[in-house]
C-alpha cells in the first residue's frame, strides 16, 4: 500500500499485551550469556555484580520491553532465569 503508515493506531492504548515478570536466580547462573545474546528484544545485559560462583548474572534493562517469549528460560542451561506473566488485575 503506497499510503504511508505513520499514525499511532487509534486502538494502540486498548490493545493489552501481557506484561512480563523476569526472575533471575542469580547464584545458579554460570554467566554463559545465552539469554542475553538471544533475547529478541535485548531486554537483558550482564550485571556488574559477581554471584557466589564468580559469574556475572544477567540483569534486566527494561522489563516493559519483554515480549514474554520466555526464550531465556528455554535456553538457560542452568535453570537460572524464568519469566511469568505479571498479574495486572490491579493494573500495572
Amino acid at each position: 500500500m503506497p499510503l504511508r503508515i505513520w499514525r499511532k493506531p487509534l486502538d494502540a492504548d486498548k490493545v493489552k499485551l501481557p506484561r512480563a515478570e523476569i526472575h533471575i536466580i542469580k547464584d545458579r547462573c554460570k554467566g554463559c550469556g545465552f539469554c542475553i545474546e538471544l533475547c529478541p528484544r535485548d531486554v537483558l545485559e550482564f550485571s556488574e555484580e559477581l554471584n557466589e560462583r564468580g559469574a556475572h548474572p544477567p540483569k534486566v534493562t527494561d522489563e516493559s520491553r519483554c515480549a514474554l517469549c520466555s526464550f531465556c528460560q528455554a535456553v538457560c542451561p542452568d535453570f537460572a532465569i524464568f519469566t511469568v506473566e505479571k498479574d495486572c488485575a490491579g493494573g500495572c
Binding site: 503506497p2 499510503l3 503508515i5 499485551l17 501481557p18 538471544l38 526464550f71
Partner: protein
C-alpha cells in the same frame, strides 16, 4: 514443429496480369477536409496495374465494402488498395471484404491518408494532397508485389491467468470459471478483495461494500474451476497468445490449511503493528488475518515483525496456542509453473499519498486524513467501530471539510482526473449526515463531476441535506495548536472572495495513481503505458480491453481510474474476450513469418542468433536453418540480418519495401524524409499524433514494418541512394520492444550505418533513430519538425555524393 519453405515460384504465376483497384476514402470531411480525394483517385488511375480507381465518402461503410466486392468480381481485381485511415484500425475490415469476394486477404494494402496525412496537415491542402498521392503510389507499388498467403493455426490452452484479486480480478475469474475454463487467480496480498474491501459504502446506491463483495470473494475461494494463489507474485511470462508459460512465486504463509481462523494464535502473539488494511488506524499482530472476511481465511505470519528470525524459533506462543498445529515456520517459498492461453491484467491502482503537498499538512496535523482513512473510520468493522472520530482526541468533530482533487488535475500530483473522488466525497458527506446530522460539512472543489447514472441525484441530495459546496481549493491548511482544529484559507472562485474557515477535521479526497509495480507487469507482458502511467488498450474505442499483446486483456484501475461498476463491467468484458479465444481453441498466426529459400541458405546461423524467440535453429547435418512457425512472432529481424537473402519476410519482403521506397522517391526525393516505423510503437505513435491533430511537415513518408528490427541497413541505403534528404528509423523504447529485444538489433544496425556514413564523409545527422511509444505522438511530431531543419541544410552536392557512394550498394 512446422517448417515453412519457399519453393521458388509463388502460388500466383508472375505472368498473370496484376489488376489493382484503388479506393480513396473521404471519411466524411476527416480526409476530404484537407485532401482532394477526387484528384488523388484520378492520380491513382494513372498508376501501373491500376484498372479501377474510385473515391467515396465512407469506404468502411457497407456500401463502400460492397463496391469493392463487386469490382473484384466485375473487373477481376487481384489486388486492392484502400487509401483511408490507419491499417491499425480498418485493415481487418477490408481484408474481410476481400476474402468475401474470394480474394486472398494478403492481396490487400492500405494507404494511411488520415492519421498520417489529413489530420496532421490540416491547413496545407496542396501539400497534403501531394503526400496522399505519394502514399497511394507507395501502396500500389507494394500491392503489385503482394502474394497470397495461408495463415497457420496455433492451438490455445483453455486456461486463463488473472493477475490481481480485486473486484475486477474476482469478477473476471468468476465469469471465466463459470464459463467452464480453468482459472488461476494470482493476488499479491494475503487475501483477495482489493480496495473495494476497504471501502465502507458504494455510490450511488449506498450499498455496504464488503457485504456485496464478500459473497463473490468466497465464491472465488471455493469455485471448482478457480485456483487461488494469494500472497503470490507473477515472476515470468514466456510464450505467445494461446500458449503462455507463467512462473508464479508463492510466498509462504507459515500457516497451513489446517487453520480454522479461530484467532487463538493472534491473541497469544506478543508483537503488534499497524494494520495495513486499516491504513494503520488499527493494530494487528505478527500473526494475523487482514480483515474478518478475508479469503482465504487462513492466518499469515509477518516474518519481518515476528520475533522468530533466521529460522530460530525464539517465541512459540502461536505454536502453543494453535490446537490444530497449523503453524509451520519451515514453509519455504515455491515457484509454481502454469500454462495458460489467456492473461487478464487486473492489478488495480494505488492511492495518492498527499504528504508531499505540504500546504495541506497531511502527516503533520493529526486531524487531516485521507478519504481512504475515512472509509475505515466510518466503517462499522473499522478501528472506531464506525464512529467518525478525529485522531487527535478520538472525539466526533462538529465540522468536517472535504478537499477535492488532492493529487489529481494538478501539476502537483497528477494531471488527470481520478474519476471517482467527487462521487466518493458526496457519498461520504451523506454518510456523515446520516449518523451525525448536526455536523457542518463543506466540500471544496474544482468542478463536481457527477456524470454517471444516478450520480446527479446523489449530488442534489447532498446539497439538499445542507452540505455546502465551495468552488476553490484551499491554498493552505493551518492547525490551531490548542483545539487541534484546522483553518482553511482559499478563494471562493464563484464569489471571488477569500475564505478562512475552521473545521474539526479535514478529509483530503485523494486521487488514484498507477501501481508502483506497473513497470514490472509492463515488462512481463510487453505492454505499453500512457503518459499517466496506466496500461494502454489496443484501441481506445474498438478494443478497449485488449492490449497490443495478443491474448492479454485489461480490467479495472490498471487501465485507468474508474469506479466499481466500470471495473466490474470491464472485467466481464475481458472474460468475454478471453473466452472467445479459448472457445475457438485455435488462433491463426498472421502469415508474416519468414520463408526459407533453401538454395541461398549457408547455415551461417546469424538469423538464429538474432531471433528473440529462438524460433530459428540451424540444422548442421542438413546445412540449413529451420523456422519453428508456431514460435515465430514475425518481427523480421532475422530477414534483416540474413546477408544472403535466404529469408523472405512474408508480406514485408525486401522487394515490397524497395518498391515503397522507390515510389516515395520518384519526385523531389531531396526534399523528403523516409520514416521506417514499427507497427506497435512508432507507427501507432504517428497515428496518435494524427488523432491528436498534431501538425508537422508534410514531407515525411512512413513505411510500416512490424518491428524496427525488420529495417535492414540496405533499406536505409536504398533510400539514400534514391536521393532522400533524411531517413528516420523509429521503434519502441529499448526494453519495451513488442518483440522482447529485437530493437536492440535496430540500434546496432543504425550505429553501424552511422559509422559507415562517417567513414564515407557523410553527415550522420541525416539518419535519425527515434524511440517512441504509441502514446508519444508529440515526440514523433517534434522529431519530424526537428528533422526538417536537417532536410533544409542538406546540399545538392551532398545528396549527389550520397547517391554515388551508396548507389552501387
Amino acid at each position: 514443429m512446422k517448417l515453412s519453405e519457399f519453393s521458388a515460384q509463388t502460388p500466383y504465376s508472375h505472368d498473370e496480369e496484376v489488376r489493382i483497384g484503388v479506393y480513396v476514402c473521404h471519411c466524411g470531411l476527416n480526409i476530404a477536409g484537407s485532401v482532394d480525394c477526387e484528384e488523388v483517385a484520378k492520380f491513382a488511375s494513372t498508376l501501373p496495374h491500376v484498372v479501377v480507381s474510385k473515391d467515396n465518402r465512407y469506404t468502411c461503410s457497407d456500401q463502400g465494402q460492397e463496391l469493392i466486392k463487386n469490382d473484384i468480381r466485375e473487373h477481376k481485381l487481384n489486388r486492392v488498395v484502400v487509401a483511408s485511415c490507419s491499417p491499425r484500425l480498418h485493415e481487418p475490415t477490408f481484408r474481410k471484404a476481400c476474402e468475401e469476394a474470394g480474394l486472398n486477404k494478403y492481396l490487400f494494402e492500405m494507404a494511411n491518408i488520415r492519421e498520417q496525412c489529413s489530420w496532421v496537415h490540416l491547413y496545407e491542402r496542396e501539400k497534403a494532397t501531394e503526400k496522399a498521392k505519394d502514399l497511394v503510389k507507395m501502396a500500389v507499388a507494394k500491392a503489385a508485389l503482394l502474394t497470397p498467403e495461408e495463415e497457420s493455426e496455433v492451438p490455445i490452452i483453455k486456461k486463463a491467468l488473472v493477475i490481481g484479486g480485486g473486484v475486477a480480478g474476482i469478477q473476471a475469474a468468476l465469469d471465466l470459471g463459470d464459463t467452464g475454463y480453468q482459472v488461476y487467480l494470482v493476488e499479491k496480498d494475503p487475501s483477495v478483495g482489493g480496495r473495494m474491501a476497504q471501502i465502507d459504502k458504494t455510490f450511488p446506491t449506498m450499498d455496504c461494500s464488503i457485504c456485496i463483495l464478500a459473497p463473490k470473494m468466497s465464491d472465488v475461494g471455493r469455485h471448482p474451476n478457480i485456483e487461488l494463489l494469494t500472497n503470490s507474485e507473477v515472476l515470468e511470462v514466456k510464450g505467445y497468445i494461446g500458449n503462455f508459460r507463467v512462473k508464479v512465486l508463492r510466498k509462504p504463509r507459515y500457516v497451513t490449511e489446517e487453520c480454522t481462523s479461530c484467532g487463538d494464535c493472534a491473541k497469544a502473539c506478543p508483537v503488534t503493528a499497524p494494520n495495513e488494511f486499516d491504513v494503520g488506524l488499527a493494530t494487528r499482530r505478527a500473526i494475523y488475518t487482514p480483515f474478518a472476511q478475508a479469503v482465504p481465511s487462513t492466518y499469515i505470519i509477518d516474518r519481518n515483525l515476528c520475533l522468530n528470525k533466521e529460522n530460530i524459533i525464539l517465541c512459540d506462543k502461536c505454536i502453543k496456542a494453535c490446537e490444530r498445529r497449523a503453524i509451520n515456520f519451515d514453509m519455504k517459498p515455491e515457484t509454481v509453473e502454469l500454462e495458460v492461453g489467456t492473461v487478464i491484467v487486473a492489478t488495480g491502482a494505488d492511492v495518492y499519498d498527499p504528504t508531499s503537498l505540504t500546504n495541506y499538512g497531511y502527516g503533520k496535523f493529526p486531524n487531516v486524513i485521507t478519504s481512504l482513512e475515512f472509509e475505515r473510520l466510518i466503517n462499522a468493522g473499522g478501528p472506531s467501530g464506525g464512529h467518525l472520530i478525529r485522531p487527535s482526541d478520538l472525539q466526533v468533530p462538529e465540522s468536517v471539510a472535504f478537499v477535492q482533487c488532492v493529487g489529481s488535475r494538478s501539476d502537483k500530483g497528477h494531471l488527470y482526473c481520478s474519476n471517482v473522488c467527487c462521487m466518493n466525497t458526496i457519498k461520504d458527506s451523506l454518510l456523515i449526515k446520516e449518523h451525525w446530522p448536526a455536523t457542518k460539512i463543506y466540500v471544496f472543489y474544482v468542478d463536481v463531476r457527477a456524470y454517471g447514472k444516478g450520480f446527479e441525484d446523489l449530488y442534489k441530495r447532498a446539497k439538499k441535506e445542507g452540505i455546502i459546496f465551495i468552488r476553490g481549493l484551499p491554498a493552505e491548511i493551518i492547525e490551531d495548536r490548542k483545539t487541534r482544529n484546522l483553518w482553511l484559507f482559499g478563494e471562493n472562485t464563484l464569489q471571488k472572495e477569500l475564505y478562512k474557515v475552521n473545521f474539526g477535521m479535514v478529509i483530503l479526497s485523494v486521487g488514484i495513481e498507477p501501481r508502483r509495480d506497473s513497470e514490472a507487469i509492463q515488462r512481463l507482458l510487453t505492454l505499453s503505458r500512457n503518459p499517466d502511467g496506466f496500461f494502454m488498450e489496443a484501441h481506445p474505442k474498438l478494443r478497449p480491453v485488449d492490449t497490443p499483446t495478443g491474448g492479454v486483456f485489461l480490467a479495472g484501475c490498471a487501465e485507468s481510474p474508474k469506479d466499481i461498476k466500470d471495473s466490474v463491467t470491464q472485467a466481464s468484458a475481458t472474460a468475454a474476450r478471453a473466452s472467445i479465444l479459448m472457445a475457438k481453441g485455435r488462433v491463426t498466426a498472421e502469415a508474416i513469418t519468414p520463408r526459407l529459400i533453401l538454395e541461398n541458405c549457408t547455415a551461417c546461423g546469424l538469423c538464429a542468433r538474432v531471433c528473440p524467440y529462438n524460433a530459428i535453429s540451424v540444422n548442421k547435418e542438413m546445412k540449413r536453418a529451420e523456422v519453428i512457425e508456431a514460435a515465430c512472432a514475425g518481427c523480421g529481424t532475422c530477414g534483416a540480418e540474413c546477408p544472403f537473402g535466404a529469408l523472405t519476410m512474408r508480406h514485408f519482403t525486401d522487394e515490397q519495401v524497395y518498391a515503397q521506397v522507390d515510389a516515395a522517391t520518384e519526385q523531389d526525393a531531396d526534399k523528403k524524409i523516409i520514416a521506417f516505423c514499427c507497427n506497435w510503437c512508432a507507427y501507432a505513435g504517428a497515428d496518435f499524433a494524427g488523432v491528436s491533430r498534431m501538425q508537422y511537415p508534410t514531407n515525411v513518408r512512413i513505411i510500416r514494418t512490424m518491428c524496427s528490427g525488420r529495417v535492414a541497413p540496405k533499406f536505409v541505403e536504398r533510400a539514400f541512394a534514391r536521393g532522400v534528404a533524411a531517413v528516420l528509423v523509429a521503434g519502441c523504447h529499448l526494453g519495451d520492444c513488442h518483440y522482447i529485444n529485437a530493437n536492440y538489433q535496430t540500434q546496432r544496425r543504425v550505429e553501424k550505418l552511422w559509422k559507415k556514413m562517417e567513414r564515407l564523409g557523410l553527415s550522420k545527422d541525416r539518419l535519425q533513430l527515434l524511440w517512441a511509444t504509441a502514446a508519444e505522438g508529440e515526440k514523433f511530431a517534434s522529431k519530424i519538425k526537428e528533422m526538417q531543419v536537417i532536410v533544409n541544410s542538406v546540399s545538392e552536392e551532398e545528396i549527389e555524393k550520397t547517391r554515388g557512394l551508396l548507389g552501387k550498394g
